[in-house]
Every structure is written in C-alpha cells, then in structure tokens.
Symmetry: none
Subunit: 417 residues, 2 copies
C-alpha cells in the first residue's frame, strides 16, 4: 500500500510557511506500515493541483492532500478533486448545518463564502472529526483509471489536520491495505566519528542485515551535533518492533562503543547532567571562547540545578587573572585551561571544574589562528588539559568546543565506573 502526501498552498512554495504537515503525516504513515514514496508541494493553481493528484494516483494507491479547503476563492482543493473524480460538487446540508453551528457556538457571523465549504464531490464522504469549519473528505475514485484508489482531503491548519489524519485517514488506510505490520525507529546519537567512519565500522553489520533484514541502519548527519545512527524495524506488532530494536541497539553499541552519547532526543548535556547526578558530583564551568554557551546548554536540562553550581565567563584576560587566579601571561595555553578549571571549581565550591579557552576568530590571538582551543578539566585529584583544533567559523568553533568539552567530561565520568 502506497500513499503520497500533497501539500497545497502558494505560501508553502514561497517559503512564507514551512510545510511541517507533510513530515508529520509521513511519520504517521510510516508508523502504520504504509509506504510514502513521494511528497509534493504545489501552489493554489487548478491545473497544477490536478496534475499533481493524477501523477500521485498513477504511482500510488492513496493520496492525502493537505490544505486549500478554506472558504476563500483560492481554496480550490474541493473543485480539483471533483474534476479528477469526474463528478459534480454537490451541496451537503449536514455540513452546512455543522458550519452554521460552529459559527453560532463561536458567536461569529458566517459569510456566504463559508457555504463553499459545504460543497462535496459526488460520492465523497465527510470525515467525522471537524474541529474547525473546514470539513475533511474521503474521496473514493469512481470507475475509471483510478478505481479502487482514494484521495483524502484535510485542512492545512495543523491541529485540524492531525485530528482528522489520526482519527480517520490512518485507520481507513490500514483497513483498505489490510496492513498489520508496524515500523519503529530508534536513533543512537554519536560524537567523535565521521559519517563515513561510522559506515566503515558498521559495514559488516549492515551486510548481515541485508542478508537477514530484522532491522535497517541509516546515518543522519545532524550538523554540528554529531552523527545519528538510525535503527528501523518493521514487524507484526509494536512489541516485536521494540524487541528487534533493542537487540539491534545492543549489537551496534558493541561495535561502535561509547561514542554513543544519547538516544533519540537526548542531547550531550542531558548525558552529562545525568552522569553527574548518578555520581553525586557538582559542576562549575569557566568559559572564555564559548562565552556562556556551555552553561546555557547545561541549564537547558530540567533538573540541572541538582548538579550545576554555575560558572565564570572569563572573556577578558583580566577576568581570568583576577576572578579565576590564572597566572598572568598568555591565556590560550594548556596551563591557562587547567588554572581556569581549578580556579572555577574552588571559587564556586564544585566537585568538578571544566574550562575552555581559545581563539574563535575572526582575528588571531596571541599569535594563534582561529580554531585553536584548549580544554581544561579538574576532577578529583587530577588536573588535565587537552589541545584541540576546531574547523569552521566562529559559531562552529564555539559549538564544537562546547560539545567536545562536554563529551570529554562524559568519557572521564564513564571511566569512573
């Protein structure tokens, strides 16, 4: 069973609105085990919407068309569907009554235009869920090239669309397709390996899965936040999916090891805060090049206050000397990084001190090029530093520094086991 998604609206093409509806519908289709091979955005143009629907029906068994069901003149999805079905639009008294009731209950006056929303292609049925004034439609294709196929029309308003898709479209599609299988995904988030490096590490496992497909592995570069390894399983039941995902996750973790810092939505800062809490340790951070980015990310984690004391943003060198007792002299060095970590830990009374100093650019500093960064860590009796070379522009250098430093702490904390 294949179902395409068509999003209607010139504002989508102009980039005035980002089409999040198609993504959400695609996710629901995937979870229902229904393939969605194409998603199309098209403007409010009769001919082009018609062409898009026909192309979709040529390739697939069903189409969810989203948007263009409003009361205004450029809301023409109803009319286009009728023409693709080769039928008339007929007035639906029941919908008119529901629309009138809506307006009544909202104490708004109904315009004549709103009655256009009571027009329905002959043979179509309306979707029971109707949170707004736009009725959704189930349009089975009549005798002809598309017989047996179906178009679902839902409004572009996300909340209305979601209620109709979840309440009627997905159940109807599952019934038509007789699909019983479920598809689920789990994402392992990694730091410290390139996408191609991961691909090589997992080459054997991927080949094994090609032979006996209990799950699939895909890589997603998530910009500066590392590489995601996505595991996907298809099975008869949700429980069986979870089982396969758990088994596959264990295998993959065995292969790529502790470069996995989180699962699905877990960020690096979530991982670090959780590890500190487990070990009953408090943290203080001394930031130069990152300017507060590390603290802001840590404190974005609910419950961070249990482990995070605070930090010193020592941007000017004098602040490093005066507030953190860094010895006067060059401040982009391993020594300075260690002194900052130790100083902030003592000054703020924390168990762990973390520090970063470096050159974000655009200009060099102390004769060092942008991207020259030193990490400092004060943990227990150990005081250590680590030099790093960061790529890219100011923002990339700052973000790489933040995640890289937190990952270093994460590995040190894991080693405490």
């Amino acid at each position: 069973m294949r179902c395409e998604v068509v999003a209607v609206g010139t504002e989508l093409l102009l980039g005035q609105i980002v089409d999040t509806n198609s993504s959400w519908i695609g996710e629901q289709l995937a979870l229902a085990g229904i393939d969605s091979l194409f998603q199309t955005k098209v403007g409010d143009n009769f001919g082009r919407i018609a062409d898009t629907l026909r192309a979709a029906l040529d390739r697939s068994d069903a189409v969810v068309v989203c948007g263009g069901l409003g009361p205004t003149q450029d809301d023409i999805t109803r009319d286009v569907i009728a023409s693709v079905m080769g039928v008339e639009l007929v007035h639906d008294d029941d919908i008119e009554a529901r629309i009138r009731y809506m307006f009544g209950s909202r104490a708004r006056t109904m315009s004549v235009n709103n009655l256009r929303q009571a027009q329905v292609p002959l043979g179509a049925t309306t979707i029971a869920q109707m949170p707004g004034t736009a009725p959704g439609l189930v349009c089975p294709m009549p005798e002809g090239p598309y017989e047996g196929k179906v178009i679902y029309a839902v409004p572009g308003v996300p909340s209305e669309m979601r209620e109709m898709v979840a309440g009627t479209v997905i159940p109807d599609l599952k019934r038509r397709s007789g699909v019983t299988s479920v598809i689920k995904s789990r994402t392992l988030r990694t730091w410290g390996q390139s996408e191609s490096g991961l691909a090589e590490m997992l080459e054997g496992e991927i080949e094994r899965l090609d032979a006996e497909p209990s799950a699939t592995i895909a890589f997603l570069a998530s910009g500066i936040e590392g590489i995601k390894v996505r595991l996907t399983a298809k099975a008869a039941t949700e429980a069986e999916c979870d089982e396969r995902l758990a088994a596959e996750e264990a295998i993959v973790r065995d292969i790529i090891g502790d470069i996995v810092f989180g699962v699905d939505d877990e960020t690096m800062e979530h991982a670090v805060v959780a590890l500190l809490a487990e070990r009953g340790l408090t943290l203080a951070v001394a930031e130069s090049v990152t300017g507060g980015l590390i603290g802001s990310r840590i404190t974005n984690v609910p419950g961070a206050s249990k482990v995070f004391r605070g930090g010193v943003v020592a941007y000017a060198s004098e602040v490093k000397f005066e507030v953190l007792d860094v010895p006067e002299g060059p401040v982009v060095t391993e020594e300075a990084a260690m002194a900052m970590a130790d100083g902030v830990r003592r000054r703020l009374g924390a168990d762990v001190g973390l520090a970063v100093t470096g050159v974000a650019g655009p200009d060099p500093q102390e004769g060092l090029p942008p991207g020259t960064v030193f990490f400092g860590l004060a943990l227990g009796d150990t005081l250590e530093a680590r030099p790093v070379r960061m790529p890219g522009d100011r923002e990339r250098i700052r973000t790489f520094s933040t995640i890289g430093l937190l990952d270093w702490l994460r590995r040190r904390l894991l080693a405490l086991d």
Copy 2:
C-alpha cells in the same frame, strides 16, 4: 524562468527531519523573481529520484536538488544526475585535494568512502563555495530532450546549502533567465509589539502602498525573536530597489519608532554590542535563570571582546552570595537582581552591569511560579530593577529573558544620547 526544488532523503518522507531547505530555497527563488511551481520530497532510491528529476525537467527550466551528496552508499544524487544527463561519473582531482585538505585541517582521518564525493558527472562543474566535504554541482543538460536546462546539486546540511545557493545557484539562475527586474527585501526586526499591534500602527501606510505600489509590507512572526516587518520593492535596477527600500524604511521607522532593533540579520545582541562600542562602555553580565545564554549570544557577535568583559553564571544561590556579594536571603527579587548587576560590574571591572534572576521551571522556586523574572541594571550612577512575567516553557522563558533584558539595555543606551 521556472525552477523546481527536489529534496532527497528517506528521513524526510518518514518525518524524522522537517524539510526546511525547500522553503528557504523557495524564498530565495521568489526574491530573485524566479517561479517555483513544484517542490518534491523523494527517498534515497535511484529510480524514483531519476523519475522526479525528469518530471521536474519536463515542467521547468532548472532544478535545485538538495541532499544525497554525502559519502555513504545511500548518497546517490551524483549517480542519478549522471544517468539523467546520460554521462559517466569522472573523478575530480581538485575536489579530492579539497576534501583531503578539509580532513587534514580537522585532524580527522579521511575514509575511502569520502572519495566518492570527488566523483562528478562528465560536463558538470563544481560550486566554488564548499564549507563542508560535500561539493555542490552545476550540471548543464547535454544535447537531448533537456538541452539548455540545468540541475544544481547542493548538500542537505542547511549551512552548506545556503552558502552554495546564495553564492552560486541564484546568481547563475538570474544570468540564465536574463531576469532584468530586480526584487529586493529589507527586514526590520522589532521587539515589544504583537503582529496585530504592528498591523494597526502601519494600517494607513499599507493602504497608501496599495494605492501607489512603490513597495510592499509584510509581517513575519519569527518565533521568540520578535516580529519582522519585511519591506519588498521590485524595480528595473538594484539601485532603484535600494532607493525605494530606503525611502520606505524611513517612513516605517517614523511610524513604529525604536521598537526596531535591527535590520535583516542584525540580532538584538548585535545592536547592543554596537551601541556599547559607540559609547565606549564595557559590559559584565550576571546570569541565573539564563545560565550563560546572554553571554553566549553577546560573544557570538564578532568584535564583542571590545565591550564584553565577561560574566558570572550564578545558578546556585551560594554563588550569588559568595561571588557577587548578594545579601543572603531570597534570590528571586528586585533587590537580588540589582545586587547581582552591581556585584558583577564591580567584580569584573566593567562600566555596565546586567543581571537576570528568576524561575525557569518546571518547578516553582521561593514560592514563585515559573516565568517570574527580575532584570537588574547598573549603569553610571543608576541601579535599577524591573519585574517581568514571561510566558511559556523553560526554553521560552530563558530566551524571552535574554532578549528582553538586552532590549532594556538597548533602550537605556539610546536614552543616553
């Protein structure tokens, strides 16, 4: 001239990533006066990508295909384009050198897979901008049904895609299309007014422009970052556009006044850093609820070091007492906010002290509900505080606090004139 956008990636169809690239590209095409009538998402499947590209070339003069240029086996955009062009992939030594250099400069080992990225369809040229390891491609269609048409291939990583589209794709499309009329936009960024409030203020001017259309005004809500007022002008020359935009900007600024904090990409922190530099003042920040967010945003501005001394992230109350000399007692008060601003200014030897303390939630603190926030400002001889109620969740409260506090400083600095 018509240009379609094709986004490649199974994760887009599955809704694991929202395709924001197509929207951004669509906006750039519109601003360049180039029609974009269809945008399609397709998975990592050779046949379906090829069909999609052919359908797009049948309907339009150019296609921007986004994604699938990575080093892994499922990155097949290069291969598909070659087959649509009916040519071979050839190895490009120059790109290999650039990729090797990238890895060298990042001290990461390059895998053999990365060399796939040096494969280029015969007759294609590479895009000069190459911020990552994925080269962009300009692929003119050879003799045949699509002769004279062109495919542009750019990576799915937004930052890389944007640099290539702005730097090469749009200029090349304009040259090919011979578009003479120029469309330009200027965005005035505002803080402190609702969209409907702005619409009311500008109602008269918008009516005037309907009568004599020298420019258009549109409102874009940019989430937590305020409301954008976008001015757009279409004219024969760029100079004429700039003239009209400058004239319209003056009129609009007269009407809405100093709620405009920046133009186009200027952020609130840019505005504040510029004002401080003009007045020769240095800044120190004491952050509690924002955890370093204010410092991180200020230091994201190149040249911030001229005005920003640093800050203290006083997340735990003891840090407020011990490091900032805040009197022991409740810390979510006007008094605490003022003491923090004064303390950080003195401690870090700055001219201006800014402070924020409050409750980000999810739990109440000192009996106060999440969203209770106090700003503190130490400027010259004045020490003042301001209570604020912030809406929304933890992240919104933190971001609203950051921008709200910076905007307060901005207004105070403007008043110094």
